[in-house]
Symmetry: C2
Subunit: 266 residues, 2 copies
């Protein structure tokens, strides 16, 4: 496996499964990120999580010893808000997701309804409160003409104990399958919307960014599509999809984050 | 469209969307079925419904003016019980379905558990109480080695008011998508298990049976695969899947059930 012979101007780094698992930092994450910052590298964190705001995630990272501003984080709920503000500024939404996602959309000025005839856009995300009644409202709204947008399409989410739990993709699948209507827009990784938002914050062209993530299907695929250099880290997602691995070969494979630092750097 | 020039020895007739919608008989259903019986034709009702027992469905039909014995009905829960008794006689089950399905499986002697490490078979059906916690138990059980069996794989279920609601297929899709494990066994139409159970009750070879149903994806496809003659009735399911229509061309298309009776019969 090739080792890093140089530093990159910017590092776009996935969070869950790459920097931490749940509330636990992964080995060498804190030292590596703080060292890259001391070496004046731009750090942008990128996450498909839509259930916590950038401010909450930044505070959490800071408490873990990685001082971070909200502006250094790109999460899928903020990119969803931006997408909706640009393409559906007056839409009435129905939100299948954690309560904080609904709150973020309400604070951005959107109206939320449970009446299928008034719903213009169904927003789909990971949702521990997903149930049949929500499926039925989405199904009816789509039959009445609503479009669909997903914050992310992760199959599973890694857990602190090393396991996984279902994420947004099975909810998307249930809605697509019942309605016969394929998802209209995916906002989260691997989409170009997330990549573009991260590149804007990085301030450098894509080929000067190293994308670091644990998930070939989302992280590596997005990085490659956007023209970034990519590094897959062996932490995080337990069961890598072999087809996705073959389709999204990373430029580098590392065991943990300190492998990002070339050997000649103290 | 060809008209019927003769009667068949046996009629295998779908229920929901063909004989009734919810609690409402469809036009000419009662007269036609009672006339076929007076003409000494064998009638077998076949339904993917797993949320009511044969006895309950028979009583309901009888109350609607179509006197029916439980033995004249093939539903997907009884065929699921028979399949499990033959292939997994001692399995511990986890049931995603209406309460009566769990009751039927308990009465058949199966044990039910919510502990992923003890679950041998996940039984999937339509379930108005489906939620994320159930998805997670199925997901964990499959990771621990459980196999999966679905009573039916209908995309939607017709409603009395002319609408539809999500049926078992979106639940199957959520479980398959999260676990990465394709469904092991489908019991309901269009599977051979339902066709074989119906043929046993009919007492005649498949090519002497007319399969009558409103759903090309389940009814007509099963009939054709089993070698029955098939008739699609225009009642029931609102949105026919065009690909399924092309893949499962019926031998006959009728508007309502009395079109089954040849013109020369009084």
């Amino acid at each position: 496996l090739p080792r890093f012979q140089h530093l990159f101007p910017a590092y776009i780094i996935d969070l869950d499964g790459t920097v931490y698992l749940g509330n636990r930092l992964l080995p060498t994450a804190r030292e590596t990120i703080n060292k890259l910052r001391r070496l004046e590298r731009k750090i942008v964190f990128i996450t498909n999580e839509a259930s916590r705001t950038r401010a909450v995630i930044a505070r959490n990272l800071t408490e873990m010893g990685i001082p971070t501003q909200p502006e250094e984080i790109i999460n899928s709920s903020m990119v969803t808000v931006a997408y909706l503000q640009e393409h559906h500024p007056k839409a009435v939404l129905y939100v299948i997701g954690e309560p904080s996602l609904s709150l973020e959309l309400l604070e951005a000025g959107f109206r939320i309804s449970q009446d299928p005839q008034h719903i213009g856009v169904v927003v789909i995300s990971s949702d521990h409160g997903f149930n049949y009644d929500k499926l039925k409202i989405a199904f009816d709204a789509i039959h009445c003409g609503a479009s669909t947008i997903a914050t992310n399409a992760d199959r599973t989410c890694p857990l602190v104990d090393g396991g996984e739990e279902p994420d947004a993709l099975p909810i998307i699948a249930a809605i697509e399958t019942s309605s016969g209507h394929p998802l209209d827009v995916l906002v989260g990784k691997p989409s170009c919307f997330m990549a573009e938002a991260a590149l804007r914050v990085s301030g450098v062209p894509a080929n000067q960014c190293l994308l670091v993530g644990d998930n070939p299907e989302t992280d590596i695929r997005m990085g490659k599509q956007a023209g970034m250099v990519t590094a897959l880290v062996a932490t995080g997602i337990r069961t890598k999809n072999k087809e996705a691995m073959l389709a999204s070969q990373p430029d580098y494979q590392i065991n943990q984050l300190d492998d990002l630092i070339p050997d000649f750097i103290e």
